[in-house]
Symmetry: C2
Subunit: 503 residues, 2 copies
């Protein structure tokens, strides 16, 4: 989505703190930060106007780039005292507008805090600053036989601080868990300038699980200034199987059967016809173009185990109706299979001028049904949808193809995206797997949660941030926004595990 | 600890809600609950006076035993309206006094809500009420080839609701995670009677991670009325290796080396000389009585993998100085090895009239040093200490042996326990691994956390329970209590990963 839609905040639906005099704000920040750590000319702030959800833009009052915890505390103290909103930003790769500047905000960029502070190979831990890139950790610890498991598509660019804010996932999270499962300690600064250290070196900890609460809190509760991550031993060997299916439903069945058999692939990815065709044209991965859907199933571990397990996966795929189930014959072919998957998003450029990437999650058993429903919605809205996703954990990534220059297509793409997300909720799933809610999905939160649940979120937010200064207008919709959105409260009508009620 | 120490709540240190007229309270509850669901005669309430921390006792105003969510809501509404404290109780097996009645409280027992509501083998989920016993789930799903992994020692008796409240662990949590890692959904009732459903069938969920926040919150935030747990496929095979060491330090080294080698045992337990001697006398497990410490290392999975991995474990143990490293030759011997470990606590009855079980956790690398320090403390306090513990995750269970009839010994046992816990904190660990804080360790929370961290806990508590009615006087100490305890704030002086600072 590249159309420059300006600031969509609506003061009636998204209450904001009262405006702060911009000159006073800048003057106060100049007293606590070195000159080079503040940007307030429009030209310099342009790059901070948007994040990965490029259709949404907003200009901050000022950009602050602290270099250490003391400077983060100082900035927050100024904001607290003046009542200025604060929007934290990592690498700006987020896809849900979590780092979109709200009107008059201090954009708190953490990119300068980018040091790997410590690596303890024996304990399997690394302590890093929030601006460290995800992939940089794996690169640093590879010589020690370790890696950092969560691998969002943006792992080359995205930062650990952003990963914590969004509870980022990736291909490997089926086996190795989300960010929250791979973080062992956090240092945070609260709005009143307190520095808290959460979690620690041991698995268990007393007291409320603040670390889990902060992880995925999208910049609404505190600023993360240090992260202790768990490192995972590099697997001895890795192999991948490519299976092709004459219909999507059969591929969905194979996914369910693989998991039900107790196999835990390191990755289990699915691509439908449109996605695999684009990817094949883009990278020449060797995908069969006559398939309705393909699965890529990666297993890692000891070589002898992988062999036996891959045979089981092959048998399951064939039983589900696969027309082809082939193990990559060597490392080169394995890399080629994955290159197609990793290039699937950019490959969409061949299909349409723009695409909008949705991130929903559903119970695995609902896969065939939901894919059929997405096809119907696609016809109804008159926009093509390609499906590329983490099938193993039911995390969909429908890509809506559109042309931002064609009148009305962006609005239609957004409406279709919203309809797909509400479909996910209705099928017992959720409106985000790994991209977060941010600004993008704030309306869908009204479908996901009851008013009482949203009020519980709001009460927790107030416990950390009574004045609502941290990332206002994001993630938690106000009751008036839900009324305006005409929310259908799916949860109020049916329990979240509707399929269980059949028993 | 069996000495009947009566109610130790101190109104100056543990502020309680103003007293409620008991007759009014009972009369109001009688309007919303059937007669058989209320107990208010002293004789009938006797059994609810204490939990597994038997030295602490207190008499509730009334015991309420709701049979469904509607009755839980009704009880909470009455308590909210009258301002009466509410203490939730599962099976009452907790060891930290979490279910100890506070003065004038409504003791809310959940034992009647004990149905397994649904089992979905394909999704690997079970939906249960809070009163269901831990082991009952594994028994119910065994025919389907599944089990529920967290296995506290009390698993025969303890309830899932209590497991969630305490975030219970067990021998298998090294490989399979704590309760929080095995729960996928919760239904809770808040103090104002709202029913919220947290989590769901999918791995990811938007919004703050309320499920993780509630898990381990020890009855301070809400009442859990339903739990959806993840089920794990039963391993194809299980084997155990017994290793004996001439000194504890060498056993600690072997533990560190096993984990550093990337092996993840299903269980990795350590017993010192006093513990293994008592266990051997009690059960005839076949432990070598000349050892200073033994390790039991259990591996599970495919038979061919286990064989190779057990050989690696054996090599590591021998390299660390094991005088013996033997794989159980058959199922009977495997069961005998474990019978000794499982009988270690009752076996202590041979050694002393009473014992006090401590639950601390330390980084694995600190094991040898902490065990030495516990020996010194034991000498200093003049009380023997036996060590039996989950070595793999650094979760200590020192058993302090004493005689409650001997004047001063109980106080000395408590003081020694407190000293051991503060030692754990000083070494980068925590004051509880799996037993919770409850009433027992409320003073040690002052050593574990800074005043700012405790205030953050208190603010979260207020977000759910502004009047402080849910389990008052537990888990979160007031500032005045910390002052009275003369807390040494270890965290304020050093970061929680002190060893990392050496790099």
């Amino acid at each position: 989505m590249v159309a420059p839609v300006l600031d969509r905040f609506d003061p009636r639906l998204d209450p904001m703190p009262p405006p702060v005099d911009r000159r006073t704000l800048i003057a106060r920040l100049e007293r606590v930060l070195p000159r080079e750590a503040l940007i307030h000319k429009t030209e310099g702030m342009r790059v901070f106007e948007t994040d990965g959800l490029a259709a949404y833009r907003g200009m901050p009052a000022v950009v602050a780039l602290p270099a250490n915890v003391a400077e983060v505390r100082a900035v927050l103290k100024v904001c607290r005292e003046l009542g200025a909103p604060v929007v934290a930003r990592g690498a700006g790769t987020g896809l849900s507008g979590g780092a979109l500047p709200t009107p008059g905000c201090v954009l708190l960029g953490l990119s300068r805090m980018s040091a790997i502070l410590e690596i303890d190979a024996a304990a399997g831990l690394a302590r890093v600053q929030p601006g460290v890139r995800n992939l940089a950790i794996s690169e640093a610890v590879r010589p020690l036989g370790l890696f950092y498991a969560p691998d969002p598509s943006s792992q080359l660019a995205c930062s650990l601080g952003g990963n914590v804010a969004e509870n980022a996932g990736g291909v490997h999270c089926l086996k190795y868990g989300l960010t929250v499962n791979n973080v062992q300690g956090l240092e945070i600064v609260t709005l009143d300038g307190e520095v808290l250290r959460l979690g620690g070196e041991t698995l268990e900890a007393p007291g409320f699980d603040l670390m889990a609460l902060i992880t995925g809190s999208e910049g609404l509760l505190a600023i993360v200034t240090e992260i202790t991550v768990r490192l995972t031993p590099l697997p001895e060997a890795t192999q991948v199987l490519l299976a092709a299916f004459p219909e999507t439903r059969a591929a969905g069945q194979a996914v369910a059967d693989i998991i039900a058999a107790g196999l835990i692939p390191a990755g289990l990815e699915m691509m439908d016809r449109l996605a695999l065709t684009a990817a094949e044209a883009h990278t020449g991965a060797g995908y069969p173009l006559d398939a309705a859907a393909i699965l890529l199933c990666e297993l890692d571990g000891a070589p002898e185990d992988i062999g036996a397990d891959l045979e089981r996966v092959r048998t399951i795929c064939e039983a589900a109706g696969a027309s082809l189930a082939r193990i990559a014959r060597d490392e080169a072919e394995r890399e080629r299979f994955w290159a197609g998957r990793k290039g699937a998003f950019p490959a969409m450029g061949r299909m349409a001028p723009d695409y909008y990437c949705i991130d929903g999650v559903i119970p695995r058993r609902a896969l065939p049904e939901v894919l059929d429903a997405i096809t119907r919605l696609s016809d109804q809205f008159g926009l093509a949808v390609a499906n590329v996703f983490h099938a193993g954990d039911g995390n969909l990534h429908p890509l809506i193809l559109y042309d931002a220059q064609a009148p009305g297509e962006l609005d239609r793409a957004e409406a279709l995206g919203g309809a797909i997300l509400e479909l996910c909720v209705a099928k017992g799933g959720a409106i985000t797997g790994e991209h977060g809610v941010g600004r993008e999905k704030i309306n869908q939160m009204c479908a996901q949660f009851t008013p009482e649940e949203l009020e519980t979120f709001a009460a927790l937010k107030r416990a950390f941030d009574p004045e609502g200064l941290l990332n206002p207008g994001k993630t938690i919709p106000t009751p008036q926004r839900c009324v305006a959105h005409g929310a259908m409260h799916v949860h109020a009508a049916s329990p979240p595990f509707p399929h269980l009620d059949r028993f």
